[in-house]
């Protein structure tokens, strides 16, 4: 517990983290001087709806309020040789008072699924309450605001891109959406939605189902309604901003949960939780943000993590690589080997079949967990080093076709067919027959079918058979399966509670015969010394150890021993060759 009141530096309030610039928090006459020392080429400016909202249908972007002058802001940024990127909140924004909703529209506080009011502490210790985006007035206000924003961009020929922000937080290991609203406002909006002509059958089905399955159909209908409203806000912004619109980005604001609010109020030390929050965000394919954390809570190691991972790596891969990278240089970008696809973006299923525990132990943070909806095939992506896990439950034909494309492009696909639709199973069998692919069927802990095509592997298995087995049995199963693929992935031993992050870049002329260079960042956020052994696989060569802080490395022919003291970190560069 601190005995002195921390003094907030003005710069921390204006530049809260990850190259964000809160332009409204300083005088517009000081924008240039404040941004002169800003190291990044890209300035990320979240748009504060409230300060631009003057009154009913009166929006200010040109400077009746000088701090609302976006044209001047972009001009100042470009004058300094930098690029401006705007971030437009597409729902409640935890870093803004009233969640970003102008005061006149903030009528109904929104409630999370446990009926708690959203209260989020900003770095200055003020509590921002979130208001319901299911309030019709808020939606009308937002759509008017973005239409005016779009008109302003076109009329003034603003040279900037716009990304949407969808804000989330972590409550334990669960990702929660600030847009979620369990209040009467949501219920009223849902009621109106059911009364619409196209949705009346949904209401009728709910009435019929009530006797048999109380609530289940209603929960499903509410989820669909929620998704449709969420998409509505996105499409509203997209249509209004057309040529300026890039896409929407899912963010997790570390320190933004209810538990975090109580921790801040009672001054608990949650720095390890903040650190792991960053890595949990990455695993779930969200962009982590530290803008809610006050400076005194950002220990040195947390600052390093956000700087090295988010500022220098994630931001580069997300926001127009060409703005960050000069021609001829290669840039480290985030890298993971394993991807998990399930209709729910949840660890639970993958943990139950035993694959996630073994990955966490031997290949920590080398994976990301996604929803089936996000399963996409990219023409220009190298799938030869990717291992894709997919659950057949909820898988549609489009998803199956994507998995098959990945397989045919050299990817390793593992599909749990336990609860897969019979029709889809038949289509898969037909695919194997039509393409005259050789399949091997074996029974090892569960029924397996393996198909090989060049570098591509397609393996079906029965997760339901695996679930009841002991973790040791599951470990044996998955070790054998992963062995089949000949992964170019370094195995860890020990180092529990250490946090690690992989990134990679293409080899350049100085990298001799390597195909690529991979960098492993290791951090120790705990209060204890940690040791880790990395098995040096045959395709890997340790190139250098860098950015060592309170850590040491010893190497032998086949192993690297790493010791990291509390708060310590280091990076290891590996050359990877065929």
């Amino acid at each position: 517990m601190s005995l002195t009141t921390p003094v907030l530096r003005e710069l921390d309030s204006i530049f809260p983290g990850e190259n964000w610039f809160f332009y409204w928090k300083t005088s517009s006459s000081l924008w240039k001087s404040k941004l002169e020392d800003f190291s990044s080429r890209v300035v990320l400016c979240p748009i504060n709806w409230s300060i631009h909202h003057k009154g009913h249908e009166d929006i200010d972007f040109l400077g009746n309020n000088p701090e609302a002058n976006l044209k001047k802001l972009v001009s100042v940024i470009r004058e300094l040789g930098k690029e401006a990127i705007f971030l437009l909140p597409l729902g409640p924004a935890p870093f803004l008072p009233n969640g970003g909703v102008p005061h006149v529209l903030s009528r109904f506080p929104s409630l999370n699924k446990e009926n708690a009011i959203y209260g989020v502490a900003d770095p200055e210790g003020r509590i921002n309450k979130m208001y319901s985006f299911f309030d019709n007035r808020v939606f009308l206000g937002f759509s008017f605001f973005v239409s005016k924003l779009g008109e302003f961009f076109y009329q003034e020929n603003i040279e900037a891109s716009v990304y949407g922000i969808q804000s989330h937080y972590l409550e334990g290991s669960e990702v929660c959406d600030y847009l979620t609203d369990n209040s009467r406002v949501f219920d009223d909006a849902f009621g109106r939605y059911l009364k619409e002509e196209g949705n009346r059958t949904v209401a009728q089905n709910m009435k019929k189902a009530k006797a048999l399955n109380p609530g289940e159909l209603e929960i499903k209908a509410k989820k669909e309604f929620f998704s449709s409203i969420k998409s509505l806000y996105v499409s509203c912004a997209q249509e209004a901003l057309e040529g300026y619109w890039e896409r929407s980005l899912p963010y997790i604001f570390v320190g933004g949960g209810h538990r975090d609010l109580l921790s801040r109020a009672f001054d608990f030390d949650e720095s390890e939780i903040f650190s792991s929050g960053l890595f949990e965000s990455l695993v779930r394919d969200f962009i982590p943000s530290s803008v809610l954390l006050p400076e005194d809570k950002k220990k040195e190691i947390i600052k390093r993590q956000f700087r090295e991972i988010v500022e220098k790596c994630i931001n580069v891969s997300v926001f127009q690589k060409e703005l960050y990278i000069d021609e001829g240089t290669s840039q480290f970008l985030p890298y993971h080997t394993f991807e998990f696809y399930h209709y729910l973006q949840s660890e639970k299923f993958w943990s139950s079949i035993g694959v996630l525990p073994i990955l966490k132990k031997q290949y920590p943070f080398t994976y990301k967990i996604c929803t089936l909806d996000s399963l996409t095939f990219f023409e220009d992506k190298d799938y030869s080093e990717k291992v894709i896990f997919a659950s057949g439950l909820g898988l549609k034909l489009k998803g199956l076709n994507t998995l098959l494309k990945i397989f045919m492009n050299g990817g390793k696909v593992l599909l749990d067919v336990s609860e897969m639709d019979e029709g889809l199973l038949k289509k898969l069998e037909l695919f194997i027959l039509e393409n005259k692919l050789n399949s091997e069927k074996i029974n090892f802990k569960c029924a397996l079918e393996h198909i090989l095509l060049g570098e591509g592997h397609f393996l079906t298995f029965y997760g339901k058979t695996l679930s009841p087995l002991s973790q040791n049995s599951k470990n044996t199963f998955w070790e054998r399966v992963l062995n089949v693929f000949g992964l170019k992935c370094l195995k860890f031993k020990g180092g529990e509670d250490l946090l690690s992050f992989w990134n990679k870049r293409d080899a350049n002329s100085l990298d001799l015969d390597y195909d690529e260079v991979r960098r492993l960042n290791i951090y120790n956020p705990t209060s204890y010394k940690k040791k880790l052994k990395i098995t040096l696989e045959k395709n890997f060569s340790l190139l250098k150890v860098l950015d060592q802080i309170q850590s040491s490395v010893t190497t032998s022919h086949y192993q690297i021993d790493v010791k990291v003291l509390p708060g310590g970190s280091l990076s290891l560069d590996f050359g990877v060759f065929s």
Binding site: I117, G125, K129, L262, E270
Partner: protein, 143 residues
């Protein structure tokens, strides 16, 4: 040390746990009481410990781990709090309803107001048994 820090110290000096809970009513009109947050001066209480105490008390497995509990009556919840007192060796548990918590958030512009708002309210559950108190004293004396 400023006044808010003194308040914090005074509250937790007496080894208290603060519990925020909610009452839910199911479709059949049955009440159940669920824990949302529980913390003492050191921080949030470990979920595993809370669940273990709950399972020992309730002997049922709860799937929804984010809402610990499922107590049928407020008396059951108070009994559970007695177990918390014994396990964590504190003198009191302060029970706050979610409604109070929500009201405190709504009316608090900042963290200090929120903390003071929470500390002023709630139902205090004191350690019931003399034996309990004696054991607590002996445990502390010999540790």
């Amino acid at each position: 040390m400023n006044n808010s820090e003194k308040t914090n110290l005074n509250f937790f000096e007496k080894d208290k746990i603060l519990v925020i809970y909610d009452k839910l009513v199911d479709d059949n009109g049955h009440d159940s009481y669920h824990l949302h947050y529980a913390f003492n001066k050191h921080g949030h209480l470990e979920k595993k410990a809370l669940e273990a105490i709950f399972e020992e008390y309730h002997c049922d497995e709860k799937e929804d781990l984010s809402l610990l509990g499922g107590f049928n009556t407020i008396s059951d919840l108070r009994e559970y709090c007695q177990k918390l007192i014994q396990h964590f060796q504190v003198t009191d548990v302060v029970l706050l309803t979610l409604e109070t918590y929500n009201h405190s958030i709504e009316s608090s512009p900042d963290l200090i107001s929120l903390k003071n708002g929470l500390l002023d309210k709630g139902e205090t559950i004191k350690n019931k048994g003399q034996n309990g108190a004696r054991k607590l004293f002996l445990r502390k004396f010999f540790n």
